[in-house]
Symmetry: C2
C-alpha cells in the first residue's frame, strides 16, 4: 500500500528525471544553433550520428517545451528553445502544398514525405501549445489547419493506398493519435474545432478496434476484424495501453457511459498479452491467438510502451482506486527504471533485447526523441501528486 508520502516521493522522482536528466540532455545535444531546428540522431553521449532532421521530433520537442513553460515553470530557456523549433518548422517544415516533411536535411531541405500524416499531428500539438504561451494567434490557426489536414490525409487524402481495396485495413494509430492530439489542442487553443473528429475517433476505437475480450487490435478491415490474417491478429501492447489512457483522459474531461470500464478492459487485455512473465517488461507486438509473429522486433522491449504503461496504470489507479493497478504500476515502473536509464550519459536507452540487455546504445533517431520519456515523467509526476493528495484526505 502506498501512503501519501510514498506517492509524493514517487512524484518527486519522476519530476527530477524530467528536469535534471531528460530535458537538459536534449537541450544540450539536439539544438542546431547554426541551421535551426533539432537533430535527434544521437549516439549514447549525445554526439550526432547523422544530421538529418525528423519532422516528428521538431513538433514533439516544441510541444514539450511549450507545455513545460505553460504548466511547470516559465523558464526562459524553454521558451527560447520552443521558439527555435517553431521558427525552423515555419521556415523549412512545409512543402508547397501545405503538407510537412517527415525528414529534412540539416539546412532544412525536404528529404522525404510519408503517406502518414503523423508529422502534421505532432506539429499541430506544437503550434497549439506555442500559441498558448506566446499569444501568437496565427500559430493557433495553423494548429487547427494541420489537425484537419492530418485527419483528412489519414483517411486516404495522400494518394493511392499500399494495398488494393480487397485488403485495405484501418490502423489503430489513426483514431488513437486523433484523440490524443484533440486533447492537446483542447488544452492549448480550445476544443471547439476538434470536437467532431474527437467524437469520431472514440467511436472508432470502441466500435471497430475493441474486441469483446478487451483486445484493441492494431488493424481491422473495412468489414471488421480479420483474424484469419497475420496482421489482423496483431496487438501492439504499447499502442493499446496508450489508447487506454487517452480514453481515461476523455472520461476525465467528459462523462461517457462505460468509457472507464472499456479503457480498463483494453489495458487489462494488453497487459495480459504483453507483459513478459519470463523476463519482465512489455513485448512490442503479439498475436492475439498466441501464434508466432513475423516482425523481428516483436519480442524486443522498447522504451515507449513502458512509458505509456506507467501513465495508464496511474490513470487507472486514480479512476478506480483498485490496488491491482498500483501493483502493476510498481512492477512496470521499477522494471523500466532498472533497465532503460543510461547511468553513464543520462536519458534512456530505447531498445532492449527480450532479456532486458541493451541492444542499441543510440539515444535517438528520427523516431526516438524527447517525447515519450519526458511526457511520462511530466504526467506521472502530476498523477502521483494527485494520488498523494487523495491518500492524505
Amino acid at each position: 500500500m502506498m501512503s501519501a508520502s510514498d506517492w509524493s516521493e514517487a512524484s518527486g522522482k519522476y519530476r527530477r528525471g524530467l528536469l535534471e536528466d531528460t530535458v537538459p540532455f536534449w537541450l544540450e545535444h539536439a539544438i542546431d544553433k547554426e541551421h535551426g531546428g533539432f537533430v535527434s540522431c544521437l549516439d549514447q553521449s549525445g554526439v550526432w550520428l547523422d544530421d538529418d532532421k525528423s519532422g516528428w521530433v521538431q513538433g514533439r520537442f516544441t510541444w514539450l517545451l511549450s507545455r513545460l513553460y505553460a504548466t511547470v515553470d516559465q523558464k526562459d530557456e524553454w521558451y527560447q528553445a520552443a521558439e527555435h523549433g517553431i521558427r525552423f518548422m515555419r521556415r523549412s517544415g512545409f512543402r508547397s502544398d501545405g503538407r510537412m516533411w517527415f525528414q529534412l536535411d540539416r539546412e532544412g531541405r525536404g528529404v522525404r514525405i510519408r503517406r502518414y500524416a503523423y508529422t502534421e499531428f505532432f506539429a499541430a500539438m506544437a503550434f497549439g501549445e506555442w500559441a498558448r504561451i506566446s499569444g501568437d494567434e496565427e500559430a493557433g490557426e495553423e494548429a487547427l489547419r494541420l489537425f484537419r489536414l492530418a485527419c483528412e490525409d489519414m483517411r486516404g487524402g495522400r494518394g493511392p493506398a499500399k494495398h488494393e481495396p480487397l485488403r485495405q485495413g484501418k490502423a489503430l494509430g489513426v483514431p488513437m493519435i486523433t484523440l490524443g492530439v484533440a486533447h492537446a489542442l483542447e488544452d492549448s487553443i480550445g476544443g471547439d474545432g476538434v470536437a467532431e473528429e474527437r467524437a469520431r475517433a472514440i467511436e472508432e476505437l470502441r466500435n471497430e478496434f475493441l474486441q469483446p475480450d478487451g483486445a484493441l487490435l492494431e488493424q481491422v478491415g473495412p468489414e471488421g476484424p480479420q483474424l484469419d490474417r497475420l496482421e489482423g491478429r496483431h496487438l501492439n501492447p504499447g499502442h493499446a495501453i496508450e489508447a487506454s489512457w487517452f480514453l481515461m483522459e476523455e472520461a476525465r474531461r467528459r462523462d461517457h457511459p462505460g468509457l472507464i470500464s472499456d479503457a480498463i478492459r483494453v489495458m487489462d487485455a494488453a497487459w495480459e498479452l504483453g507483459w513478459d512473465e519470463k523476463h519482465g517488461g512489455l513485448l512490442s507486438l503479439v498475436d492475439v491467438t498466441g501464434g508466432p509473429v513475423q516482425e523481428p522486433w516483436a519480442e524486443l522491449k522498447y522504451w515507449w510502451p513502458h512509458c505509456e504503461a506507467i501513465i495508464a496504470l496511474l490513470y487507472a489507479a486514480r479512476a478506480t482506486g483498485e490496488q491491482r493497478h498500483v501493483d502493476r504500476w510498481t512492477l512496470v515502473s521499477e522494471w523500466a527504471h532498472e533497465h532503460f536509464p543510461d547511468p553513464d550519459s543520462g536519458e534512456w536507452f530505447g531498445y532492449l533485447r527480450r532479456d532486458g540487455s541493451v541492444m542499441n546504445t543510440a539515444k535517438g533517431n528520427l523516431w526516438k526523441g524527447p517525447f515519450h520519456v519526458p511526457r511520462m515523467q511530466l504526467m506521472a509526476a502530476e498523477l502521483c501528486e494527485y494520488l498523494a493528495g487523495a491518500e492524505a484526505e
Copy 2:
C-alpha cells in the same frame, strides 16, 4: 585438411538435406490444390498461418523445381509442381499493365504491388527455367520481357521515389539481383538478351558499391558513398557475400581481369564485419565505421546470409585453393547446421536471436520460402563434388 572423401561426404549431406528434407517439406505443405499456386506463411509444422500468397515465392519455387528437373533428376512430381506454379502466375500473377503482384489472396486476386521489381525478377527466373524443361517458347519470351521490365522499373520506372532527389540512393540489391538473374537466364534461355544489363550490373558493383577496403556498401548516393549518413554506412553481410559469389560465378563464365580478387575482397570484408566472434553466426546489418545500427533486426541471425556464405566460401575455395576459405566454410556451415534446422518438423527456422536461440518458429512467410536453403543445398552439393574431384586428382 579435407580429403576427397571428406568432400564427397559433405556433398552427400547437402544433397540429402535438399532431397529428403527441404523439397519434400515445401511440396507437402505449400501447394494449394484448390486455388493453385503456393502458400508460404507456414507455422513450424507446415500449417498455414495465413493463405495470402507471395509473388516472390511463386517465382522462386517454380524456378527451383524446374532447375532440379533440369539438373538433378527428371522427377515427374517436380515437373507437375513447376507447372502448377507457372499456371497460377499466368492466370493471376499479372496486373493489367504487365507488372506482377507482390501479394495475392488465396483465390489469386491482387492485394499489393510494390515499388521494387523483385517479383518480376524471380518470375523471370521461373519462366526461363520452365521454358528450358518444357520447351514452351512463350515462357522464354516472357522471361526476357520480365527481366527487361524489372531492370527498367528498378531504375525508377515505377513512379516517384520515396526520397527527394537530394537524397536518392542506389541500392546494392539492384545490380546484385540483375547479375544473379542474368546468370539464371543464361543457363535456361541463353545469355544474349541479358548481356548488356549484366555488364552494367558488374560495372556498378565494382565501381560504385565496392570501397577500397573491400566493403560492399548496401546503399550509395548519386555522387558516391554517403558515409556521413546512418544508411550510407550500412553493410549487409548477407548481401555482400551473395554478391561476392555472383561475381565469382561471372569469373567462372567469362574472364574479367581482377574479378576474382575483387570478389574475395568483398567476401573477406563482409566476413570480418559480419561474423559474430561472441556467439558465432553472421549479423544481419552492420555500420562500416562500427557505430550503432538503428534497425532492430541488425544483430539477429537470419537463415539466408548463412546459406549465401556457405556457397560463397566454397566458390572461393574452388577459385583460389586457399585453406582459409575452407576453414571459414567449415565454421559457418557447422554453425548454421547446429542452429537453424528444426529437429521436430524438418526444414530450417529462419530467425534466431544473436545468441543463436530460435526467435520465431514459423517456417515461412511472404519472404522466406523454398529458395535460399534449397539453392544452397543444391549448389553446395555440386561445389563439394567438384572439390572432391579436384582433391582426388
